[in-house]
Symmetry: C2
Subunit: 505 residues, 2 copies
C-alpha cells in the first residue's frame, strides 16, 4: 500500500519506540548531571554513594535500551512507511540497540570492574613511573575489549568495531587514510618550522596572571562568542569538559597562574562543544534528532572555535584590549605578538594535551598505531613502552625520558577506550573543512571575528550542523554543509598556509 508518509500519523510502533528511547535518554542525561556534579561539586567523601548511584543508573539504562519491546518495535518498523526524518530516527536507535543487545550483561559488568581496577592501577603506575603495574590491567582490558568486539561482529576487524563505538558513520580505512595524510603533511612541515629558527614572540605570556582576572576574562570571552548563561554555567575542574543538553550545557575550565593562554583556549574549546549542544533542537530532546552526531563532529565544533576563531590573528586583535584591561602587565603587547604566542609550535613537548595545533596529530597517530596493533594482536602489552618511545622519536624527534611522560600519560586506555583517540584528529580535520566553507559562504568572517560579531558564524553552524542532530550520517552531514564528504584537504591547506606565513617558510 503506497501511502504518503509525510501526510499520515507515524505508525504506532514508531511512537512507542520514541517513548521508550526518551525514557532511556532521560536516564542517560540524568547520569550526566551526576557525573558533572562528581567532577565539579561533590565533596571528596561522597564517592561511595555516587559510585552506587552511577552503577545502578548504568544498569537501569542498559536494561531500558535492550528492552525486548524496543527490539519488537524495530522489527515492526522494518517495512513501515516512514518520512526521511523518521527513517533517520529508526536507523540511529537500531544501531545503538543492536550493539548493546549483542553484548552479554556479564561481559559489560566484567569490563566495568576491570576499568575501575585499571584506573587505580594506572594512577599508581603513572605516579611511580612503573608501567609494569599497569601492564596486567591493560592486558586484561585488551582481551575483554576483543571479546566485546567479537560479540558485536565476529567477522569484523575488532579494532574497527571498537572505533565504531565512537564513530559509527566513518569507516576505519577512511580514518587511517586521513591520518596518513596528516602525517605526510605534518612531519615535513614541523621539520621545516624547526629548521627555520624564526623569532616568534614566545615569551609574550611569561609571568603571573591572577586567576580571578582569568576567570572574568573567560566569562567575557564566552559572552562575546555567544554563550547563553541562562542555559549554562562556567566552573572549574581538573580536566576541562562540557556536559549537558540543549537546555543546559555546562562548561568547565581550569586556571593556572602561569598560563593564561591555556585557560583562554580551553574555555573557547569547551564553548565550541557547548554551543553545538545548545544548538540541538529543543523539541527533539531525548531522541536522535535532538542528540549530537558522533565524537568527530563534536570535536569539529570545539576545534573550529578553538583554532579557526581563537587562534586567528583577527581574534587576537579583538581580544587585546580586554586582555590588557584584565592584565596590565600586557599593556606593551601587540596583537601580532599575542597571536604568535598562541600559535607557537613547541620543540620538545611530550604531552598530548599541551600540544600545539600541528604536533597534536602526531601524538594522536602514535596512539592510533599502537592501540590498533594491540587490539589486532600485533603488539604485546609489554612492548608498548618501547614502541611508544620509538614512534615518538620517529614522528616527533623526541624520546620520552619516562613512561609517566610517555605511554602512561593518557587516561583513555585505563577506561578501556580503544579507538577513541583518532576522533580528536578527525575533529580537527572536519573543523578545517567547515571553517573553509563558512569562510567562503559568509561575507567577511575575518572582519566579523575582529569586530566581535559571531552571529553569522553561529547561524551558519546552527543551520548546517547543529539543528540536524543525527538526521544525517557524518559524511552526509559534512557534504551537506561543505559540498564534499570529509577529507584532509582543507586541513592540510590551512596548516600549510598558516604556519608557512607564521614561520616565514
Amino acid at each position: 500500500m503506497a501511502t504518503d508518509a509525510t501526510q499520515t500519523e507515524p505508525p504506532e510502533a514508531y511512537t512507542a519506540l520514541l517513548d521508550e528511547i526518551k525514557r532511556y535518554n532521560a536516564v542517560e542525561s540524568a547520569t550526566e548531571v551526576l557525573s558533572w556534579d562528581q567532577q565539579v561539586m561533590m565533596p571528596e567523601g561522597g564517592t561511595p554513594a555516587r559510585s552506587t548511584q552511577l552503577s545502578t543508573l548504568s544498569s537501569i539504562s542498559h536494561d531500558l535500551l535492550v528492552d525486548e519491546d524496543i527490539g519488537r518495535y524495530l522489527e515492526e518498523l522494518d517495512d513501515a512507511s516512514l518520512t526521511p526524518e523518521q527513517q533517520a530516527v529508526v536507523r540511529e536507535i537500531r544501531r545503538e540497540y543492536v550493539r548493546a543487545a549483542r553484548v552479554p550483561r556479564d561481559l559489560i559488568e566484567e569490563i566495568s570492574t576491570a576499568t575501575t581496577e585499571a584506573l587505580g592501577a594506572w594512577e599508581s603506575a603513572r605516579e611511580h613511573d612503573a608501567f609494569e603495574e599497569f601492564a596486567p590491567h591493560l592486558e586484561r582490558l585488551v582481551e575483554l575489549k576483543r571479546q566485546y568486539a567479537e560479540h558485536i561482529d565476529p567477522d569484523a576487524d575488532p579494532y574497527a568495531v571498537l572505533f565504531a563505538e565512537y564513530e559509527p558513520c566513518l569507516s576505519l580505512s577512511k580514518t587511517a587514510d586521513i591520518l596518513d595524510e596528516l602525517q605526510e603533511t605534518l612531519v615535513p612541515l614541523i621539520e621545516d618550522i624547526r629548521a627555520a629558527d624564526a623569532d616568534l614572540a614566545t615569551d609574550a605570556f611569561e609571568g603571573t596572571f591572577d586567576t580571578d582576572s582569568q576567570e572574568s576574562l573567560s566569562r567575557e570571552v564566552l559572552a562575546t562568542l555567544g554563550y547563553d548563561f541562562d542555559r549554562g554555567r562556567l566552573d572549574t575542574s581538573t580536566h576541562p569538559f562540557t556536559s549537558g543538553n540543549q537546555f543546559d550545557a555546562r562548561i568547565t575550565t581550569r586556571f593556572d597562574e602561569s598560563d593564561p593562554l591555556g585557560a583562554i583556549t580551553s574555555t573557547i574549546h569547551e564553548f565550541g562543544h557547548a554551543y553545538y549542544t545548545l544548538g540541538l533542537p529543543d523539541d527533539a530532546f531525548g531522541t536522535p534528532l535532538g542528540s549530537h552526531r558522533d565524537l568527530s563532529v563534536h570535536e569539529s565544533q570545539s576545534r573550529l572555535w578553538e583554532n579557526h576563531v581563537g587562534r586567528s590573528a583577527a581574534f587576537w586583535e579583538l581580544l587585546l584590549p580586554k586582555l590588557q584591561e584584565a592584565f596590565p602587565q600586557t599593556s606593551e603587547l601587540s596583537a601580532r605578538e599575542a597571536y604568535e604566542a598562541a600559535n607557537q609550535v613547541h620543540d620538545e613537548n611530550l604531552i598530548r594535551v599541551e600540544a600545539d595545533e600541528l604536533t597534536y596529530h602526531l601524538h594522536i597517530i602514535v596512539r592510533f598505531r599502537i592501540e590498533r596493533e594491540l587490539i589486532g594482536g600485533d603488539l604485546a602489552v609489554d612492548d608498548v613502552p618501547d614502541r611508544w618511545n620509538r614512534l615518538y622519536e620517529e614522528y616527533l624527534g623526541i624520546t620520552p625520558p619516562s613512561d609517566a611522560l610517555g605511554c602512561l600519560q593518557d587516561i583513555h586506555w585505563s577506561h578501556g577506550n580503544f579507538g577513541y583517540f583518532p576522533t580528536y584528529s578527525l575533529g580537527s580535520v572536519m573543523a578545517a573543512q567547515l571553517s573553509a566553507a563558512a569562510d567562503r559562504e559568509l561575507d567577511d568572517l575575518d572582519g566579523d571575528i575582529r569586530g566581535g560579531d559571531f552571529d553569522a558564524l553561529g547561524e551558519w553552524l546552527r543551520t548546517n550542523i547543529h539543528q540536524h542532530g543525527r538526521r544525517y550520517e557524518t559524511d552526509a552531514l559534512v557534504e551537506h554543509a561543505t559540498g564534499e564528504p570529509l577529507s584532509a584537504d582543507a586541513f592540510t591547506e590551512y596548516v600549510t598556509e598558516k604556519y608557512s606565513a607564521l614561520y616565514d617558510l
Copy 2:
C-alpha cells in the same frame, strides 16, 4: 525448627530483598542530587530537561519499589527467623512497599500533574493575592489525596493516612494531644510576654551586614559545630535546605544584608539536619538501617541545634568575638544583648518561616486544624481564608491583611502535602526532650557550648539517635534515648522556664 538467627546467614529472600531495595534507594538518592542541582546550580533554562529526568526517575523508582519480587520476598520472610535488626529492615521495607503498591499508578500520575499545575497557580495566586486562582487546584488536590488515602486504607481517617506518609510511627491522636498541650501552654505564655512589656535588646542587629562576612561567619560556625566539609558543602538557595546521605550531606542557607541572625540560625538549623544524615551508618547506605527515621526525628535534630544550642545564652558567649570580628559595628554589643535579640518574641509576625520559637507552633496549629478539616470534609476550600484569619485572630491575636500574607504563604498544600505541618512541631517537642536528656547525662553541656566543644553532644546524638537509622520506631527511639516515649513535657518546661526568665514574668 529453632535456629539462632544471629549465628546463621540471613535467608536468601532477605539478601535478595536488600539488593532490590538498595537499587531503589540508589535511584532515590540520585534523584536527590538532581533536585539539589536544580535548586542550587541549574541555569534557569534547564527546566524542561530536568523535569523529564526527574519524572522518568520517579516512575522508575516507583516501579522498583512495587516490583513483584519485593512482594514475594516479603511474603517469604513472613515466618522467617530473623535477627532484631533484620526484622526492623523487613518491617520498614514492608511498610513502604505496602503503601506504594496499594496506590494505582494512574492516580500517582494524576496527582503529579495536578501538583505541577497547582504550583503554578499558587505562585500566581500569591503574587496577585487572589485565593480564587488557587482554590480549584486546592479542591482537586484535596479530592485526589482523599482518593489516595482511601486506596491505602479505606477504613481509616484519610487525614491520618496522609499524616502517616511523613510520620508512620506516631499516631495522629497522640500528635493532636501534643499540639493541644502546646496550644494550652503557649497561648497564655505569649499573652504574658506581650503584657510584660520587657525591654529586650531587639535592635541589636539593625543596620547592614555584608553577605561575604555572613558567609565566612556561617562557615566558621559550621566548622565549630563539627560539620565535615569533606562530606558536605555550603551553598545558597532561595529556601534553605539540606540534601544528601551519610557520605555527602549538603547544606544551603541564604544571606540577607539586613538580617544576619536569619543566616546564622538557618545555617545552624540545616547543620542539625546534615549532622544527623552524616551520622547514619556508612555500611548500611541504601537500606533502612542507613536511612533517617521520619520527619519529626529529622526536625528534632535541626531544632535541637538551632534552639537548644544556637539560641542559648552560652552559645552567644561563644559566638560574640567571632561576630564582632566579622562585623565591627557590633563591637559594643554584649553576649546578653545578642542572646535577647535571638530570642525575641515577635508581636505582629504573620509569616511562619519568620516566627520565633513560641509563636511558631501556633502557626502550625492553625494549619493542622485547617488541613484536617479540609481532608475530613468539614471545611470547604472556599472557606479556608476566613477560617485561617479567624484562627490567627484567636491564637495569635493578629489578622492577616491579605491572603498572600495569610493562607497563601506556604508551598506545602500546592505540593499536595497534607499532614506535613505537624511534623515541624513534633520535631521541636522531641528536640526539647532530647536536649533535656543530653543535659542530664553530659557533665557540663552549657560549659561545652560556651567553650565551643561540641564533641560530647555530638557523640551523644550519634550514639542515641543517628547510628540507629530506622532500627527503632519513633517512640522506641525516643524512649531509648531519654527513658520515656515522646511527650510535650520537656518542651513546655523548657519554654516556660526560658521565656519567664527572659521576659521577667
